[in-house]
């Protein structure tokens, strides 16, 4: 019996995601009084072709992969494009009112980055038949990852924007190397932990009923902690710092199954947090603004207050796309895209979006559970966890659950590095998923080989 690949289901979901995007765009045009955008159908065609290419390459290269991963990523990307278009309209209308030169729309840039993302997605699927190959490059990935992480500090090309040194400028292009670094470091962590997990899991001491690792095995976590602190100190990027430390600790826990790592990590995090609070003004401001944003409504709290007002304005059902004032929130199309979506799509829409992420992460973790090699397990879990942590940190920040830290919202935020990196993550998850789900006896990589009957 042939095992179902579920590719047609995937195609159906992709068509629905595309249709939602077209409806959203039409809605924006109607509600803002702009009418149908003259380039709507060209844009929609480009998006459709990109989604179709991604689908066909999946059908060809990883036919047994999870059918939800690609549609979820595509839908989130399309939602992001619609919101960025909507904010472009707001900016253009504002410029028209004050008689200024209309700003260049962002949506075409984002569309280009989506195309680049899909290209890299295709390249990964073409080049990487088996994720286990990546294990060979464990230390290379670690090296390159660290270099990318500190690249913004390099003279000439490093760039500081809004106080955070996160960007690298080469020629006219800027990108955030940390986005790529997070993938490379996940590969490194996975490869490294597969080898060392047995010794790291060894127990020596037992304190208060919790088993603690041997002191000499503390090296790796201390290094990860110091690197995270370095990112915080030198690049002033709280979000990335948090992401790396959280990712490493989670993977360490998965690899060793020792809860004591969490206790240790918690202690280290507390020390780091107190140190950062005492040592850095910008961290202190973030915390104070978090505790009482309205006291700083005109200064540091402006963004978060505007974000809360936007969300409140949306209420249960939202103002409808094009009906709200999402452009009142600074950085509405990057850090605060969730506030913009929450205003116009309401609580209903925001919950739906959070559930899209939840399903995406869940499918990633399911892949991790299903794949048979430990490296694949760690890699899939790690990649899923980066998505989860990133969503939690930025959405929690924007909604004032936790202090605000600058991180992009995967797939939704305007910005090339983040979009491209997240599409690479989806490609990697698909490769692993394909291996996890394809028929058991298929020892060869050739999926088109005659189907064998497997009794289960």
């Amino acid at each position: 019996m042939k095992r179902p690949t579920r590719r047609n289901f995937e195609l159906l979901l992709l068509v629905m995601a595309w249709g939602l995007g077209v409806l959203g765009t039409v809605q924006v045009g109607w509600a803002t009084g702009e009418g149908l955008h003259p380039r709507l159908w060209i844009t929609a065609a480009v998006v459709g072709v990109l989604a179709l290419i991604a689908h066909l390459i999946v059908r060809w290269r990883v036919p047994y992969a999870d059918p939800l991963l690609l549609p979820l990523a595509t839908l989130l990307t399309i939602l992001g494009l619609v919101m960025i278009y909507r904010l472009d309209v707001a900016a253009a209308q504002r410029a028209e009112r004050v008689g200024a030169v209309p700003p260049t729309p962002d949506v075409y840039n984002q569309l280009t980055w989506y195309a680049v993302g899909v290209t890299l997605f295709v390249l990964v699927l073409l080049a990487l038949r088996d994720h286990r190959i990546l294990q060979r490059y464990t230390y290379t990935a670690g090296m390159v990852g660290i270099i990318l992480l500190i690249l913004p500090l390099a003279p000439v090309i490093g760039t500081t924007v809004n106080g955070a040194t996160l960007w690298v400028r080469v020629g006219g292009l800027t990108f955030q190397p940390a986005e790529l670094a997070k993938i490379l470091l996940t590969i490194f962590f996975a490869g490294y932990l597969v080898v060392t997990r047995d010794s790291l899991a060894l127990v020596r001491t037992r304190v208060l009923g919790i088993e603690f690792p041997r002191p000499r095995d503390l090296g790796p976590i201390l290094v990860a902690w110091l690197v995270s602190l370095a990112v915080l100190v030198f690049e002033r990027d709280l979000g990335t710092s948090l992401l790396f430390f959280g990712l490493f600790v989670s993977m360490l826990y998965i690899a060793t199954q020792r809860r004591s790592w969490f206790v240790l990590a918690g202690a280290l995090f507390a020390i780091g947090a107190v140190f950062a609070y005492l040592a850095f003004g910008h961290v202190r401001v973030r915390v104070q603004v978090w505790l009482d944003p309205f006291a700083y409504a005109d200064t540091g709290g402006f963004q978060i207050v505007q974000s809360l007002y936007g969300l409140a304005n949306g209420g249960l059902l939202g103002t409808g796309l094009g009906g709200g004032y999402p452009s009142l929130v600074p950085f509405a199309n990057t850090d605060f895209v969730v506030a913009a979506l929450g205003e116009e799509l309401g609580l209903t829409g925001l919950i739906a979006i959070l559930l899209l992420y939840a399903v995406l992460v869940e499918r990633g973790l399911r892949t991790a559970v299903a794949v048979r090699d430990p490296f694949g397990q760690l890699l899939a879990a790690g990649l899923s966890i980066t998505l989860a942590i990133q969503v939690f940190v930025i959405v929690g920040g924007v909604t004032r659950l936790i202090p605000l830290t600058g991180l992009t919202t995967p797939f939704l935020s305007y910005g090339g590095s983040s979009l491209v990196a997240n599409w690479i993550i989806i490609a990697l998850l698909l490769v692993i998923s394909h291996r996890a789900r394809r028929p058991l006896e298929g020892q060869t990589d050739d999926a088109s080989m005659p189907t064998q009957v497997v009794s289960r």
Binding site: A312, Y325, L347, I385, T399
Partner: protein, 486 residues
């Protein structure tokens, strides 16, 4: 590792739950608190971000929205602000809205249930609502004449079409400029508003419908109506008309404004008593009819009823239980009788409309955002105050007031093609108006047969002599009538 991944996924689920609970709290439970915060621009932007419908006189806007380059997208402008302030009110980011801007806000802002189709589109498409238009009953010419006539005074003009109750003119003086109060600059709004509050002439009071003054001798119309309605009196009935009337139960006397008797042998007919505004005859008549009859008649004309046009008018009053001398004073519109200009216009209009008082109204039509007429006001009868016969007698008496009595200012009015128009009127002077200042009154009806306009003019601080009603208020009424008949 499967087990630790599963455990970790439980942690991630908890984080997700925290996010979901948090956004639910913000968007549902705290939503109203956030919206109500003073520094939340969204509520204002929403209100000012959509084009508010115009308020129209005929086809011309007296209030409309103009697009601006500011953050608040639409600015409310009033092309003839002061002249129409009594009608439009203002639309302020600091002090809210008044006048039709307040009462017709649903229509103007586009949130009225009348705009069902448009609202359905909004709901489905999330479109911004568009405002509808409100057409007033105001006659631009009459309004113009009233506004010009009141310049330099404190007073009010209110004119009604007797057969329908349409308000043709509603002017207050002094007035204010709603353009300044409706601007987008809170500081200048506050400054201006404070200066209006400090102004002793009280320009923020909507005098035609809110200011209550003793109606003075114009109230004799109500007393005369009660007399005719009683069946005991006709215009030719002879009444005692001495120079002084001894107020019953007191040592005080009431004098005629001329200081002389109203007719030979201290006798005067009812029609002459009205024409000459004979206080002693009407004081006597008041006690003869009794306070209850006077109150009943006044209530049939609209006293003791709160009218909304849809602007809320003050309730005009006849005193509750006056004794005999108080009844005598009330019969000539003094003591505790209080009336708005609108109320006295209604009395006049009711007499002219064969005794039927129509409810006054200011809004003629509601138009949707697409300018389709969604609602047209239909005239509503308030009450029959007099029989047609009694009303015809009283009109005849009012014509005598103009032709040979105290309202000489209205003599000789002609139509544009030169035809004489017979006009009925009554003058009055209340010795103590608001703040103790005398008020000069005139009410008039034109043409006397099949009248098109009933107008009431009240000018505060307008002299203290019966002549002043004619001299000060008369020319204003004349100008309004001439404008309306053109």
């Amino acid at each position: 590792m499967t087990r630790s991944i599963r455990r970790l996924s439980v942690v991630l689920t908890l984080l997700l739950l925290a996010l979901l609970v948090n956004v639910t709290i913000i968007q549902v439970y705290q939503s109203d608190d956030y919206r109500a915060r003073a520094d939340n621009q969204r509520v204002l932007l929403e209100e000012y971000g959509r084009e508010r419908g115009p308020i129209l006189v005929g086809a011309d806007p007296i209030a409309r929205s103009r697009e601006t380059a500011g953050t608040l997208r639409y600015l409310r402008v009033y092309p003839e602000g002061e002249k129409y302030a009594s009608v439009t009110g203002f639309y302020s980011i600091v002090y809210g809205a008044t006048g039709l801007e307040r009462t017709e806000n649903d229509v103007l802002s586009g949130s009225s249930d009348l705009f069902f189709v448009d609202r359905l589109q909004q709901l489905i498409a999330g479109r911004q609502p568009r405002g509808g238009a409100v057409t007033t009953t105001i006659d631009a010419r009459a309004q113009n004449a009233a506004w010009r006539g009141l310049q330099g005074t404190s007073g009010a003009v209110l004119a009604i079409e007797p057969s329908t109750g349409r308000i043709l003119a509603q002017v207050q003086a002094p007035s204010f400029d709603p353009n300044i109060l409706s601007s987008h600059d809170p500081a200048s709004i506050r400054d201006y508003y404070e200066s209006l509050l400090d102004d002793s002439a009280q320009p923020l009071i909507n005098r035609p419908i809110v200011a209550l003054n003793p109606p003075g001798s114009t109230f004799k119309l109500v007393t005369a109506a009660a007399a005719l309605s009683s069946g005991r009196f006709s215009p030719d009935s002879v009444l005692p008309g001495p120079a002084e009337y001894d107020l019953p139960l007191s040592t005080r006397t009431l004098r005629n404004w001329t200081g002389e008797e109203c007719g030979p042998d201290e006798q005067v007919t009812l029609i002459e008593a009205l024409a000459q505004s004979c206080n002693t005859a009407f004081a006597w008549l008041g006690n003869e009819l009794g306070a209850d009859a006077l109150r009943e008649q006044s209530e049939a004309f609209g006293f003791d009823t709160a009218f909304t046009t849809p602007l809320r008018a003050s309730t005009s009053r006849f005193p509750d239980s006056p004794d005999a001398p108080q009844t005598a004073l009330s019969a000539i519109g003094q003591f505790d009788v209080r009336a708005t200009a609108m109320q006295m216009a209604m009395v006049t209009a009711g007499i002219g409309n064969n005794g039927i008082v129509m409810e006054p109204y200011l809004v003629q039509e509601i138009r949707g955002p697409d300018l389709a007429i969604l609602r047209t006001s239909t005239p509503k009868e308030f009450e029959r105050a007099m029989t047609p016969e009694a009303a015809a007698d009283l009109v005849e008496m009012m014509v005598a007031v103009v032709d040979r009595g105290t309202a000489g200012a209205l003599r000789g009015i002609t139509t544009p093609d030169g035809q004489a128009v017979s006009v009925g009127a009554k003058t009055g002077t209340a010795q103590t108006g608001r703040d103790g200042a005398p008020v000069a009154w005139i009410v008039a009806l034109a043409p006397a047969t099949n009248p098109q306009i009933a107008v009431a003019v009240a000018v505060e601080d307008g002299g203290d002599n019966e002549v002043s009603g004619n001299a000060i208020a008369g020319p204003i009424a004349r100008a309004v009538i001439e404008a309306a008949l053109r």
